[in-house]
Assembly symmetry: C2
DNA sequence: TTGCTTGTTATACAAATGAATAATAGTATC
DNA sequence: GATACTATTATTCATTTGTATAACAAGCAA
């Protein structure tokens, strides 16, 4: 992953990986039969580290649906989730979803996990506020919230210098608030 | 670009490019002194084709600010802008922004163009509705709109099969409507 | 015709790369 | 303490890849 961060996928040769890990190329092969397997493992680790982070942050949240949604957004739009390093890894791996089918599969899985979490959070918020909204519409809201978070995450990673700490997640929270027509969030 | 679409950047070797273009590798070198130059040219072409498409669609729009904003969103969230091919190219190139500085520069330029367009459209809409909103807040709205479009574009490219034609852009329009607190769009 | 620029190919080369094999050291098991 | 398994290295090989050079064809200017 360090290789990819430094020079893109092209720099992620087995030799360079071994060099950074301070072992010999043979050892890499000992653990990973071929390069694709290694790339898949790195991809899985990266995605799980990012997606899971926002989802797991909710475990320690003793608050109502609104507070949970807020925390989810904030975690997703602050460091360490928002970081140029993550973007570099994410972009590199997703550029392989056609070339390496297994990466395509686990990428889709991670995406669905995140979207399901969005949907669940949105549903709980509406339930608490006793707004009766049908499933189809909740799904649409979840898609929009997901897209907004993804887009802001992207902007943040690419130009973190343009946002002072916290202002990105603040923008995210306020935007979702408008998106779902909530009085407070 | 066809190489990248098929097998990621790794597949974009000069020999393969030449093969698909039905020429010899030497000819590629005749026009592009080295591989980076070739990649940069392909990147520029790709970005301009995508970003410019949404912006240029406004030229033929004889409507008010609302209609223009709507058209901008719709163009950005429909084929041919929304297409797996575009995503593959975009992801591949953006994964090189650290490795190839020139790509980083033109990527940032394309991004700024798009965001400026968003900001301009949003400003015009508010001006027409005589809502007095300071520049800082307009910029924030533009960032959110930009993020939403980017995120939906991403979802659309990755899972176009999940959305029937037009439903993605419809979701985009409605979401921006909520985001900017507009009665109609 | 002559000469010059452009388009195009054929061929070559050194470096890098993924993969394989064999050998060596360490460590746990019985 | 002998054995088997794991961790690790050294070395090798066939391909691929970016780049370079030389040669050839074609169109065009003088």
């Amino acid at each position: 992953m360090e290789c990819i961060v430094q020079g893109g996928i092209g720099a992620a040769t087995i030799r360079r990986v071994a060099e950074i890990a301070d072992v010999t190329p043979g050892l890499v092969r000992h653990y990973f039969p071929d390069k694709n397997t290694l790339l898949c493992a790195a991809h899985k680790a990266t995605m799980s580290k990012m997606t899971t982070q926002a989802i797991q942050s909710l475990d320690n949240c003793r608050g109502g649906p609104l507070a949970r949604l807020r925390l989810f957004i904030e975690t997703s739009l602050q460091a360490p989730v928002v970081h140029p390093r993550n973007y570099q890894l994410w972009a590199s791996f997703t550029s392989l979803i056609n070339a390496i089918p297994e990466i395509g599969i686990s990428h889709r899985e991670a995406y669905i996990d995140f979207r399901n979490e969005c949907e669940s959070l949105v549903r709980d918020v509406f339930a608490e506020q006793q707004r009766d909204i049908d499933d189809k519409q909740i799904e649409r809201y979840a898609i929009a919230v997901n897209a907004l978070i993804d887009g802001l995450w992207l902007e943040g990673c690419l130009a973190m210098d343009l946002f002072d700490s916290g202002s990105l997640s603040e923008l995210g929270v306020e935007s979702v608030q408008s998106l779902l027509d909530l009085e407070t969030l």
